[in-house]
């Protein structure tokens, strides 16, 4: 009986349950939690995005697993959940970033871009026949010279963070970040912290099983870290696989 009742409320996303919940949106959050984690860290001189890119087969080309995406020169996005849903949102973000250049001749702000994305995601929680986005994003970049880091979730709510994670084990990672985060740290410290955070839920991290990108305040350019740089950061910490 209980089951039947709940089923009725999760048939459509536009139907509230009597206790005010949108089951489809909550299921979408579960989809995010099933994805492997992405971490974002804001430091004094830039933003770091890091993601787990573990493969399910040694035959898969690792480069084809993309969880961190450049959106514009000064903004990147990390994702967790449905990759296909993430790609769709990333393309919307890329278009919106260029529309800002066309319309106003200036780079889009990280906050404005995040809110364009969350407004889009929100439409999918209130429109009949649609399904919510099964993905959470971390939007990191530089705005007016300052590093900014935002999260979007399947309900379409924007949050701003100093450091956070989305995806599998994000609660555990966040506890780690709450204990270790220092707002004064530099970008290199941010990369090390982000890798340490991924190490909380991912065994045997090596340079090939993670993806790291930064946007620093000096160049204001999105940059993907090459494997040797990631390896150097891993060496600095003691995460490099020995706990596996």
């Amino acid at each position: 009986m209980q089951d039947n009742q709940q089923q009725a409320y999760d048939r459509g996303i536009t139907i509230f349950s009597p206790d005010g919940r949108l089951y489809q949106v909550e299921y979408a959050r579960e989809a995010v939690e099933r994805g492997s984690a992405s971490v974002g860290v804001r430091t004094a001189d830039g933003v770091v995005l890091a993601a787990n890119r573990q493969t399910r087969s040694p035959l898969i080309e690792r480069e084809s697993i993309e969880k961190i995406h450049a959106v514009d020169d000064h903004i990147g996005v990390g994702s967790a959940g449905h990759v296909a849903d993430a790609r769709k949102l990333v393309d919307i973000a890329r278009q919106e970033a260029q529309v800002e250049h066309l319309r106003y001749g200036q780079p889009v702000g990280v906050e404005a871009l995040t809110k364009t994305l969350t407004d889009h995601v929100q439409q999918y929680t209130q429109t009949g026949g649609a399904r919510p986005f099964g993905v959470a994003l971390l939007v990191g970049g530089i705005e007016n010279g300052e590093p900014r880091l935002f999260e979007t979730d399947p309900s379409g709510t924007p949050y701003e963070w100093q450091a956070t994670a989305v995806g599998g084990g994000s609660d555990e990672i966040r506890s780690f970040l709450e204990a270790e985060y220092d707002p004064e740290m530099d970008l290199a410290g941010g990369v090390t912290l982000a890798l340490g955070a991924l190490g909380q839920v991912q065994n045997g991290i090596d340079a090939d099983s993670v993806e790291v990108a930064t946007v620093d305040t000096e160049s204001e350019q999105f940059r993907t870290l090459p494997a040797d740089e990631i390896a150097a950061h891993l060496e600095e910490t003691d995460i490099g696989g020995d706990e596996a």
């Binding site: 959106v71 514009d72 890329r94 278009q95 260029q98 250049h101 066309l102």
Partner: protein, 234 residues
């Protein structure tokens, strides 16, 4: 075209994806004398190591009144490419904005910049498919295949060359370049040659003048310098 929200807005290759060109109904075509034109002399020269693009700095009304004396008529539109503004200032600026936005979008999607040939095709498509921009720019850039300059005409014609000139002073600048150009020249020599060509035109063409801008494009990027007087480079 697609009706799915958030779907790509345009599948028409002659139109920008981000914002469609709108044909004006033309009952209010602007008075030709009140539209700023660059008149202009713009020169593009390829060398082994990169491209040099030179322009004058004058904007004029009907070629008879100097409406601006320090226009930078060459703009970066790509990590390693520039476009000159020739003809209607408004048409050229709008064209530059569209091309830059579309090239950036494609670069982010593909994780590598467009080739210069692809960029030239895109520019030709926009010139051909959009409203009449009244422009005649030069596209100069560097990619894996080397240095390239293209002239793009108002009807969307795209022609590659070793060196090219557009604008009201083109005959004068060509007179300098013809016979002087050598594919083996260095970038420094190409800068001097571009300066001489633009200088010759600014001396005799009323639509060109007020100094010089030089853009140097190499595989490392774009450098744009302004000069009040071309003499210092000759």
């Amino acid at each position: 075209m697609t009706d799915i929200p958030g779907g790509r807005t345009s599948r028409d290759p002659y139109e920008p994806e981000l914002a469609s060109f709108r044909e004006t109904d033309d009952q209010t075509a602007p008075d030709a004398d009140s539209v700023a034109k660059t008149g202009t002399t713009t020169v593009g020269i390829t060398t082994e190591d990169g491209v040099v693009v030179g322009t004058d700095r004058r904007a004029s009304l009907g070629g008879r009144f100097v409406s601006n004396k320090n226009v930078v008529k060459v703009e970066q539109i790509h990590p390693t490419a520039v476009l000159t503004l020739v003809g209607s200032v408004g048409g050229a600026q709008s064209f530059v904005r569209s091309l830059r936005a579309e090239a950036s979008l494609t670069e982010k999607r593909r994780d590598e910049p467009l080739s210069i040939d692809a960029l030239a095709t895109l520019a030709g498509n926009f010139a051909r498919g959009g409203p009449f921009f009244a422009i005649n720019p030069i596209l100069g850039g560097v990619d894996d295949e080397g240095s390239h300059v293209y002239s793009i005409d108002p009807a969307g014609g795209v022609m590659a060359d070793d060196y090219t000139v557009t604008g009201s002073g083109m005959q004068l600048a060509h007179g300098t370049l013809e016979g002087e150009y050598d594919p083996a020249i260095s970038i420094g020599e190409a800068e001097t040659l571009a300066a001489r060509a633009v200088h010759a035109a600014t001396e005799r063409d009323t639509g060109s003048g007020n100094g010089l801008v030089l853009a140097t494009v190499t595989e490392d990027g774009v450098d744009i310098e302004e000069y009040d007087d071309a003499e210092e480079l000759l």
